[in-house]
Amino acid sequence: VDQDAAPCADGSTVGAATAAAEQQGAAGASGFAFALAERLLDRCRTGMVACDAGGVVRMANQAGMRLLPGLEIGEVVPQPLALAQTDEIDLVVAERRLTARREAFADGWAAWQVDDVTEHQARLDSLLAERARARFLADAGARLGLSLHPHPTARAVVELASGSLAEVAVVVLPGKGGAVEWFRCGRDSVAADGRTNIHSLPGPVAQAMLGVVGETQPVAAEQLIRLAGGDGASYGARPMVLPLPGNGSPAGALVLLQGPHPASATAGLEVDDRLLGAFAQRAGLALATAGVYAQQARTADMLRRSLLQPVLPSVAGMRFGAYYRPAEEELLIGGDFYDVHAGADVSDRTTFLLGDVCGKGIDAAVSTGKVRQSVQALRRLEPDPARLLELLNDTMLESADGEDELRFVTIVLGTATPRPDGGLHLQVAGGGHLPALILRRGGRVDCVEIGGTVIGALPGAPVRRRTVELAPGESCVLYTDGVTEARGGPDGRRTFGEERLAALLAGCDTMPAAAVADRIGKHTGRWLTAGNHDDIAVLVVQAPGTAAPAEQHGAAHRHLHSVYPSIPDEEVIA
């Protein structure tokens, strides 16, 4: 069997032998060889045609006769071969794809080998088509995965589709209560989008939106003119509507319109139902995922915003300033918190608090929300800050989620009442928090340890109470350990410390409350070496009224008076 092919392997030699044999009149002993060569040639799958110098066919095997209908011995070779400019040509004869190779001989004769490459070419074409399809779908997958929001995803869908699948592509996304959003892109036109109602959509599109899954449905072009935003005349046949399958419910519908030249812009990409189906599936999945993500992001953002630090109220007779920098800065929330609740009227006390829930990030932030809400409710029932902290302690212990979730808080909570002279009367209760700093007139800084025990860890934990009197212009500064434990400085490891903080505030007695808070924030930020830091919060309570010009401003620039908690439970500091 193999011998069938063997002579063809070097067909030109055989062909030349045949021509030579014929020239010699096929006489004598060579007659046997000639007959053998002819039989071998006839079994060969490659068509063999020999022409003389005049282009007249002198010999052809059976394959040659079959592949080139109209070939006659003694006639001029058929046109495509006769007119060939090169020694190798591709031709289509009777729906078969052929390649023909010419071998020229010195005497002007020529031999053609003709092969039927229809199947080979078909396999090659389908391989290229498959490759183009795979590339397109991979590109689509990569691009569709880029965004986690439905709008950019829908834009990516129409851009991809109008680039490769159609002249114009429109995606329609379902909204609430029959509202729909559409996104359109044409191969040569600018992308557009808008909103409409599901009832104004062409029937098949509305059906696809409702999840009526049909085949890819041809739609009358004029129905889609408005949606496609062009004059319908410019679009060719077969507008299509594809449902985009979502996660349970449909993610939307894709409308494709072909232009007058329906060929794909992407080389080798054959647009068929299989490709459209695969694209629709990917687009639907991406849109559904983006939809779910966007909804979760919206929910998370709403919850997060409920935990943001409050806008400080403006309260007659007192000023507030605050600074906040969470450890996880992109979240804008953390375990530190402050709050100010204005009194009902001028004579009423105003409640202020600053604290630090142990831990960081979301978990801690959620706890700050609970603490702040508890305080807001409890302050209406309990005017005394120390009693309020005791109630808060009980509340937190009761609502603790379990042994694994020990979230205590260090807190300073106070009430401020304006004095007739413009100063402030503060009652401050301590729940194991850092000392407060008091900016006195003249630039002196007092350190007031309030004491007490952390809130939310132990039943019946002792709470301490202090009274602080602020003269007009004086401030009480509360801060969290994010300030004092901030690491940096010359060696990058030194903590900012209470002493440095006090020194920073010395002489700042004429600054407004907001500027004092800002100063601490700025300097802590500068002190911090790159890297992790804890949540940072500062709250400044200030008695308004310009502080009297400091008599000994220069001399009193750096006094730090510390009052340590060895003193009785209640004490007035003025």
């Binding site: 194991g432 434990e485 010359p490 903590t495 070496t529």
Partner: protein, 137 residues
């Protein structure tokens, strides 16, 4: 203290501390000793869970008390305190106690500020070494 030091804080051209020493502070070593655990390094939000597991597993009805040797503990934040309080509550529930040995000045100060020092029968015997916490008034 002669100047407000924050003005040069961390911005100096010659700070050479962004190297490996910045990575080390997050480390905590917990080693068993006869009657409890010895801690060295930093007890923080990052390392607290590591200690919680070992410490809480150790406090049982049969062995309700534990000693924590904090001689080499250089830093403890609120998450660290939270572990100590959980240990206290667990020990207390079994009628035992958590004793803290060799707490640094910084840790003692933190415990006093938070009012938690009363929970841990501190045993003395801290060798006072600089703990790098920058209390350089």
């Amino acid at each position: 203290v002669t100047a407000v030091p924050a003005t040069d804080g961390g911005q100096g051209p010659d700070h050479h501390d962004t190297g490996p020493s910045r990575e080390l502070p997050e480390m905590l070593r917990v080693e068993p000793i006869t009657d409890g655990l010895a801690l060295s390094g930093e007890l923080t939000y990052v390392t607290a869970d590591q200690l919680a597991q070992q410490l809480l597993d150790r406090i049982t009805a049969a062995h309700p008390s534990v000693v924590l040797d904090a001689s080499d503990l250089t830093f403890c934040d609120s998450a660290g305190l939270s572990v100590l309080v959980r240990a206290y509550r667990q020990a207390h529930g079994h009628g035992g106690e958590v004793r803290l040995r060799g707490a640094s000045r910084g840790l003692r100060r933190t415990l006093e500020l938070t009012g938690l020092h009363v929970l841990f029968g501190s045993t003395q015997g801290r060798r006072e070494v600089g703990d790098g916490r920058g209390e350089t008034a």
